[in-house]
């Protein structure tokens, strides 16, 4: 039985936010039935057999006593052959019951794990299709918890609650039938008692739920405090704040303890009370049964066997009733979890109406012919990484199908132009106004400005992480909306301030830029990025495995790998977003050399914090509140003595 991995107790808020809708159940059922219709049928039959057997087991004592023992006692014979036959029959029935239970369990394991796997895979596949805005607007922890907590609640429901509900329902019905058949007098007693039990359970359960909500709140408070203090532990030390922190913590901890105690008390007393109400019913049955048999002269209806087996039936009836009510909680939690999962899957994926694609072409003179990728690659490899041997060259080209059915090819040059671009993230607060600029092939364009001025936003529009509200962006004179997103992004390399490396070897991380790259090409790229030296010095060189975002490396080293990764992709256009901000100026000089090599012959958009890195740009755009307020090269901007001059001389704070 896999433990719930950090599953959280039911929260009434969850339910309010995600009411269980028909749609939700339908979706869940479609996952469940999907490929498992036959298996589910088998499971259902198994559950029925198991439940019926267990009801039979409860009637067993009555049969034993009334049909065999009593007659034997009365006629005093020692002929046990009848009993032996009966025992054999029942043994076979029981055998079926056990087998059915076995199959049910084994098949359910298969079904539930398949469903969970499908849910996880579908969720991940869908997540990959979501636009960047989804990730910008959802806390990473929340997204993570869909894969852990929410899927776990589903597991609980599918593998436990679901079969149990069915079997409980069958058992309840079958037992009830058995009870009525055995004695309707006593049935009334049991039903009345059960009703009382359900009411009491609801009361205690409700109390417990309120305290659980309180417990969750104070747990959140304590955990929040722990998180803040642990993250600031060094500051705590420096300020000798330890005693004060302890005091504040103890207070919160005390409160959590008192709420947790209350919540658990109610949860804990539920079980003994429930169990004993079952017992009380048991005695009542004996009482009333005895009374009816002896005092009311109903001893022909209510025999010893009847009472004996009714006692068993009572237990058998009470148990599934309390199980159902316990499972209800799990089901509600699972439904809330499923609701969150399907909400992710219902998020609108990135739209892509692009039809212009990126292809390899052979260029002879001015004519372009599309060639398979392998041909271009093998040519490049044969010519020592060069794309041209003088007469023929292999280039990237845009394949552009037109409405009249014709196809044209245009070489990818890296010419990017923005015309009057407006943009807003949420449709309300405009962040870019009327941005126009052009970057000719091979030019370096820099964006400078305070945080929030809109520098990164511009680059987000070029690679279509976000779509512009108004205006036009043209890439090699093609409207970027017409270019297939994947191909557009293939043609744009990007190095970000926060380097994200993946678990895997250094080599794999560099190859991320181009999955077809050979080891030699990756090493070549690393050399270009100035990363080769330090990589060679790592314990396992290029095979050194990086974990947790390359925590083993320094910030500068991570950045160099990210640059090598971009280099191996070899795109015509590069975007460098604060790529060197967190490195000191001397290390930056090393990284800068790597970058300069990378930038050669490419159109480059560079966003920088330090002005020293942008001085050699063809044009520098100074942004303020979404407007380009100054533009020009370094010399002219200095001469202008405007904002750029102020920034440069340090008279103005950048952040």
């Amino acid at each position: 039985m896999p433990p719930p991995r950090g599953a959280r107790p039911m929260n009434r808020e969850d339910l309010k936010k995600n009411p269980i809708s028909k749609d939700l159940i339908k979706k869940l059922l479609s996952y469940l039935t999907g490929k498992h219709k036959v298996l589910l049928g088998v499971v259902f039959v198994c559950i029925v057999v198991t439940s019926v057997t267990s009801v039979l087991g409860n009637m067993f004592i009555r049969n034993l006593i009334d049909d065999y023992i009593q007659p034997l006692l009365i006629d005093g014979s020692k002929d046990f052959s009848g009993l032996a036959r009966w025992v054999r029959t029942v043994a076979i029935l029981f055998g079926f019951g056990v087998l059915a239970n076995l199959f049910q369990g084994q098949i359910m394991v298969l079904i539930s794990n398949n469903v969970l796997r499908n849910v996880r895979d579908d969720m991940f596949i869908h997540m990959q299709k979501l636009p960047i805005s989804y990730f910008d607007t959802h806390a990473h922890g929340d997204v993570m918890s869909h894969y852990t907590n929410d899927v776990d609640t589903l597991r609980q429901m599918i593998s436990q609650s679901f079969p149990q509900m069915i079997s409980s329902a069958i058992t309840i019905v079958a037992t009830l039938a058995g009870m009525i058949y055995t004695s309707w007098h006593l049935t009334i007693v049991v039903l009345a008692g059960t009703f009382a039990m359900i009411i009491l359970m609801g009361k205690i359960g409700g109390k417990s739920a309120t305290y659980f909500v309180k417990q969750q709140a104070s747990l959140g408070d304590v955990n929040g405090y722990i998180e803040e203090m642990v993250n600031g532990q060094k500051v705590v030390k420096v300020f000798t704040y330890e005693e004060r922190a302890k005091k504040a913590f103890d207070k919160k901890n005390e409160e959590l303890c008192s709420n947790a105690t209350s919540a658990n008390i109610f949860a804990n007393i539920l079980m003994p009370i429930m169990g004993n109400i079952g017992n009380v019913l048991y005695v009542l049955v004996a009482f009333i049964g005895g009374f009816l048999a002896i005092e009311c002269g109903l001893d022909d209806v209510i025999t010893l066997g009847v009472i004996g087996s009714f006692l068993q039936l009572t237990k058998a009836f009470v148990m599934p009733v309390s199980q159902v009510s316990q499972q209800m909680n799990a089901i509600i939690m699972a439904m809330a979890g499923a609701g969150r999962i399907f909400k992710l899957m219902d998020e609108k994926p990135e739209e892509d109406d692009g039809y212009v694609t990126l292809v390899h072409c052979k260029k002879e003179g001015d004519s372009l012919t599309e060639v398979p990728e392998e041909e271009a690659l093998s040519f490049k490899r044969a010519h020592g990484g060069k794309e041209s041997d003088g007469t023929t060259s292999y280039v990237w080209a845009w394949k552009h199908p037109h409405q009249d059915g014709t196809l044209t090819y245009a070489e990818v040059k890296g010419d990017v132009r923005l015309f009057d671009v407006d943009f807003s993230y949420d449709g309300k607060k405009q962040v870019l106004y009327d941005i126009s600029l052009y970057a000719k092939p091979g030019q370096k364009i820099a964006f400078v400005g305070a945080t929030g001025a809109g520098k990164t936003t511009i680059t987000n529009l070029i690679n279509r992480f976000y779509d512009i509200a108004d205006g036009k962006i043209r890439y090699d004179d093609i409207n970027i909306n017409k270019i297939k997103k994947a191909d557009l992004r293939h043609s744009l390399g990007i190095v970000l301030q926060d380097t994200n490396l993946f678990t895997g070897s250094v080599m794999e991380n560099i190859r991320y830029g181009n999955l077809k790259a050979t080891d030699e090409e990756c090493i070549e790229a690393a050399k270009l990025a100035n990363a080769h030296d330090f990589i060679s010095k790592l314990p396992q060189g290029y095979d050194t495995v990086l974990t947790s975002n390359g925590a083993e490396l320094s910030q500068g080293q991570r950045q160099l790998i990210a640059i090598a990764r971009a280099a191996v992709a070899d795109p015509p256009v590069m975007i460098l977003d604060e790529a060197t901000s967190s490195i000191d100026t001397r290390t930056e000089a090393i990284v800068q050399r790597g970058m300069d090599a990378l930038m050669e012959n490419r159109t480059v958009f560079v966003i920088a914090h330090r002005l020293s890195t942008v001085q050699n740009s063809k044009a520098i755009m100074v942004l303020e509140n979404g407007h380009i307020i100054e533009r020009g090269d370094h010399q002219s901007l200095i001469a202008e003595k405007g904002k750029y001059y102020q920034l440069y001389t340090g008279a103005f704070e950048l952040e």
């Binding site: 060094k234 007393i269 994200n500």
Partner: protein, 575 residues
């Protein structure tokens, strides 16, 4: 390990003991009931003696209420005990944490410390509650029910004694088989979470390199492995149910076959036979419970281990005996100091540092990332201890001072600044809990923070969000400086603390230092030459060694590194 954790039970010993004791009483009652029931049937109903039925019945009801009361009380005590135990564990860990030195903190990652204090404690709390309630209940139930069954009829009880070990053996085999698969599966779960996390965090990289399919393949492989392992492990675990069923049914059939003969031959009564069925359930169910508890315990063991790792960790910087309680002045002496983060000496982070700073001097420190600047200054308030040599403040070894005294006298603004959720005033009071409003305003004026604070609608009562996310980087740095100034320290250390402040304001801050706290020794680490230009002396640190010491002019003349740094910042500027 378990014993160590149990030390934290302390004042909750009473409920921890009471709970199992009460639960034992509950069990006794529960075992008693089928016995009374059988009497009621045999002597009451069977013989038509209604009086006996009333007496026995009432006795039974009394038993039940006692059992209910004991059960509920035990539940209450268990809740008190486990919640209290968890509270004490958190308390002990948090207090221990406060005694950790920097190197202790470095050893555990912050995220792992947080998990230990939160999730792991919850796991142990649940396991503890389970143990004091059910782990006691199940074996007692097993023993009592077994005894009772022998009391009722030894021959029939032998059947139970025969079947119980079979069930137990089966459960053990299943558990042995499944456990390693579960362990492997949990590792795979971690792997999957890692893939998801990397993708969520690095989605821009994934999308810009168009690697969606590559990532999907990575994920589906892991997901497939989890599914396969999970099927294997759960299949095994799911054998428990049918196994239990088979045992119960076999017991019932055997008992009825043997029992019937005994009843007919008059060695046993019908009611007694009925009670044997009840005992069958009680015995086998409690075995099932035991196996479940074992699984729970194994799972929570990892958590317990992780908690005890924290409790076992010895803070490696502690107060000396007879500590010096006063710092004479702000002079600092480094005498042939060696330092490395690891205890191994080969990889020294600082080597043979020898330096003497007079009280009241302003020292600038320049050096690349990883050159050892931060390590160097962190030795002064004894955040780390030297590996060799010694650091003196006010003429005495820092290791001879009381820790609070030395740290209160050496104020340090860390590179990784943290503000805490609370008002600006509350944050400033970190420096001095008794600071008056005037003192706070004065400190903020020196740190050039007063002007922007006053511009906030709530002024000094402005609420700072967790991590200081609602103020800009430069504002945060100035608040942190003001907070340090409130300590009125003899030595002030700024570790790259004005990087986000513009040069003009930076210059104002420096000016404020020389005007208002001339007697304080000031150590300023900076990336920007302009931040240290006016210092009395500038130290260039490279590769853990002092490369050069001198004034700006001297260094500009003869130090290559300094010149290089200067050039990298002024390139093309003054041409």
């Amino acid at each position: 390990m378990i014993r160590k954790l149990l030390k934290s039970v302390r004042e909750y010993k009473k409920p921890s003991i009471l709970s199992p004791v009460l639960v034992s009483c509950e069990v006794v009652m529960e075992v008693l009931m089928p016995l009374l029931m059988s009497k009621l049937i045999d002597n009451g109903i069977d013989k038509g003696n209604m009086n006996y039925v009333w007496v026995m019945g009432s006795l039974l009801l009394v038993c039940m209420f006692i059992s209910m009361a004991f059960g509920a009380l035990s539940g209450r005590e268990a809740a008190k005990a486990s919640a209290g135990f968890a509270k004490n564990l958190r308390h002990d860990m948090f207090h221990k944490l406060q005694s950790f030195s920097f190197s202790n903190i470095d050893k555990f990652k912050t995220s792992s410390i947080i998990t230990r204090l939160t999730t792991d404690v919850t796991n142990v709390q649940n396991a503890y509650q389970m143990v004091i309630r059910i782990a006691v209940r199940a074996p007692i139930m097993l023993i009592f029910a077994m005894c009772a069954s022998f009391y009722v009829n030894a021959k029939v009880a032998l059947i139970l004694l025969g079947i119980a070990p079979i069930l137990l053996l089966g459960l053990i085999i299943v558990f042995r088989y499944a456990h390693p698969i579960f362990v492997r599966m949990f590792k795979r779960f971690d792997l999957m979470n890692n893939v998801v996390q990397e993708n969520v965090r690095g989605i821009r990289v994934v999308k810009s390199f168009v690697r969606e399919d590559h990532e999907i393949e990575k994920f589906t492989t892991v997901s497939k492995n989890i599914r396969n392992d999970s099927v294997k492990a759960e299949r095994a675990i799911n054998l428990n149910g049918p196994l239990m069923m088979a045992c119960v049914y076999s017991a019932m059939l055997l008992i009825s076959w043997v029992g019937a003969r005994l009843v007919v031959s008059g060695d046993m009564k019908t009611g007694e036979l009925t009670s044997m069925f009840s005992y069958t359930m009680q015995i086998l169910m409690s075995l099932m419970m035991v196996s479940m508890i074992i699984v729970m315990l194994v799972i929570s063991r990892t958590s317990a281990e992780r908690i005890s790792e924290i409790l076992d960790e010895e803070p490696d910087i502690t107060n000396p005996e007879n500590p010096v309680m006063e710092v004479k002045d702000g002079s600092i002496d480094f005498e042939h100091v060696y330092f490395s983060y690891a205890k191994k000496k080969e990889k020294s982070c600082l080597s043979d540092l020898d330096l003497h700073i007079k009280s009241g001097e302003t020292i600038g420190i320049i050096g690349g990332t990883g050159s050892g600047k931060s390590s160097f200054v962190q030795l002064i308030p004894r955040l780390y201890d030297v590996t060799d040599g010694c650091v003196k403040v006010g003429g005495r070894d820092v290791r001879s001072y009381d820790l609070d005294v030395i740290r209160d006298n050496v104020a340090m603004v860390l590179q990784k600044n943290v503000l805490f959720s609370g008002t600006i005033k509350e944050n400033l009071r970190w420096g001095n809990p008794d600071a008056t409003d005037e003192e706070m305003i004065e400190a903020c004026k020196i740190a050039q923070a007063d002007s922007f604070i006053s511009a906030f609608p709530d002024g000094y009562d402005t609420y700072i969000e967790q991590g200081g996310s609602n103020v800009s980087g430069g504002q945060k740095q100035r608040l942190c400086i003001a907070r340090a100034l409130l300590k009125k320290p003899k030595i002030l250390i700024l570790d790259d603390s004005t990087s986000a402040v513009d040069t003009a304001t930076d210059a104002q801050i420096q000016k404020g230092f020389s005007e208002f706290i001339p007697g304080t020794t000031k150590l300023i680490i900076a990336q920007r030459i302009s931040s240290v230009e006016n210092a009395d002396r500038i130290i260039v640190i490279d590769n853990g060694e002092i490369n050069a010491i001198g004034t700006h002019e001297e260094l500009m003349e003869k130090n290559e590194i300094y010149k290089e740094v200067y050039a990298s910042q002024k390139k093309g500027g003054d041409q």
